[in-house]
Symmetry: C2
Amino acid sequence: MTTPSFNPPVRTLMGPGPSDVHPRILEALSRPTIGHLDPVFVEMMEQTKGLLQYAFQTENQLTMPVSAPGSAGMETCFVNLVEPGDKVIVCQNGVFGGRMKENVERCGGTPIMVEDEWGKAVDLAKVEAALEQNSDAAILAFVHAETSTGARSDTKELVELAHRHDCLTIVDSVTSLGGCELKVDEWGIDSIYSGTQKCLSCTPGIAPVSFNKRALEKVRNRSSKVQSWFLDLNLVMGYWGSGQKRAYHHTAPVNALYGLHEALCILQDEGLENAWMRHNKMHNALKAGLEAMGLTFIVDEAHRLPQLNAVSIPEGVDDAIVRSRLLSEYNLEIGAGLGALAGKVWRIGLMGHSARAENILLCVGALEAVLSDMNAPINTGAALGRVQQAL
Amino acid sequence: MTTPSFNPPVRTLMGPGPSDVHPRILEALSRPTIGHLDPVFVEMMEQTKGLLQYAFQTENQLTMPVSAPGSAGMETCFVNLVEPGDKVIVCQNGVFGGRMKENVERCGGTPIMVEDEWGKAVDLAKVEAALEQNSDAAILAFVHAETSTGARSDTKELVELAHRHDCLTIVDSVTSLGGCELKVDEWGIDSIYSGTQKCLSCTPGIAPVSFNKRALEKVRNRSSKVQSWFLDLNLVMGYWGSGQKRAYHHTAPVNALYGLHEALCILQDEGLENAWMRHNKMHNALKAGLEAMGLTFIVDEAHRLPQLNAVSIPEGVDDAIVRSRLLSEYNLEIGAGLGALAGKVWRIGLMGHSARAENILLCVGALEAVLSDMNAPINTGAALGRVQQAL
């Protein structure tokens, strides 16, 4: 039996990522492959580093894309910075804090958990208490924008707290990079990782990271080798470093990096602050429509992310049927709840190229149509008008 | 200063990988991105597993693409199979055996090295002696096709030896998959990893792997957790497993997997044995041309890989100048020597879509022109005729 070529349907992606990929990026992916040591490719690597510095708002020399998905970006931070025996304070207010805990344990570190309810921001007072009770802690790790709930935590303040207690910071910005204010240098973030498939609107598979000098000093002074050969920054730096002579480490994912380069050019063309404002504006339009239907957000307004909207599923409505109908009738993908929120919320992503007026109208219109057809307890008739006003 | 979009030159890639990417694959990369949990995507994942089983000639259920380059495929095998304290016999006859040693050490295992000269196949007698001297060894690890030298080792015999001494096997097939005979089930290989950018002619960034039941039993019965969260097969299997319900693990590199699927469709259309024969035929044509110039191979004929041709650089010829002229004058990339062979050999790859008549003529013609222009000690005038005869 012969397997034919795969021809995917055309979807509108408004889940937690991947987001809609800009056609310029899809086209960039199909440009001719060149060697990963070709001088022209090396030049593109340099440009990509510069563009990432802009996106992260940092001058960190070690700012580069890890050749693997966001989870490997997370692992890059932990395996390099956590040494066996290190105490790491991990804030958990959603799925990804739990994954950080797993990472700490697998590096031989001791996680000290600071837990907050899912949907809440990380509580600064609890973190301060944990830092005081654990004066020997080496690192504070937390998620800037929790993809599982849509909550934004006060990153600047958390980093300040950590530094006051002599801790380095590991920050997850998978969902924040390019979608809302994030200033690595101004906020003093020591190490940070992200993904390409969220607010950069690129295809999934690459993880931008950045490390400041203080973080690199810890990596260089480790007493044991980094447990991952593939993610060992001491080796990766020889390849992505800025010297003329690059040491072969692994074969870079050439075409995926064409895509990232193009995504970052698009961000540069729009301007970072403009991109943040666009996400905000689209969020307000979506919110107007959803609230007109009577749907409610699970995150309070002060900590709500514009790019990831978690709304409660109305009483008696079957989560899976709604998502499946949106997909089959409108080619529209929205996200399910994860972990403790499975079946209780939908996650509507407005990330990068997905954060467009036409998508808001589609999403609100399709959701209203499907829910009213299923006799869900929502208000009908007003939502689309509210969206139009807000756009 | 604004960074413009990146427009790569059109190269012919005859180095050690990436190889020329088939236009069908480049086009597949630019198809619309869909969600990584979309039912249509899940169907494509199933097809990809089936196509990989065909390429590896295996019925192993756990046959799948790791979402990262070949080096991470290597690491997947080692972090899952090597437990702290395990003794691992590692054969080194080039760069990649050394990388295996690094992996064993970072997993807390003890590597027992069996070393052979670079360019030679792994010596069966030495391996047998090591297995006898280390009856407590748990694993034998070796490279089927050494990308740094072009030597092929006797995989079937090495696996038999390992099994006779109750060892599992880890086999590197980065450069062999799709380019020369490789039969995972018939040869009894327990775990194997490869890359996409060699004889599958796909873009770099994905690592196909396969594990048999015996290997998975060791993974499932580990007394310690796998040190990498990202590469832990116990978790990855929940995502790539064949159940209807897939657990979210990481976001799959959607478009890169479109490319791999297309590459495997192309292999299926050609037929695996036909692909092996094509690589052989093209190798013979290249060999005829190179030998007519007086160039010599560093690997003896019995163990020479058709897809990776390491030839000695003639006396007095500057390696870097030749490669740089081939690139700038003919847009042709050939590979440099690695490690101990740096400056001493060129590595000419005939992998996947690069193994075509037009490429052989270009490579031999361009090399002859540049070398004779540099007054290198070669025979001129006969090479292209020999290539034509052999094609």
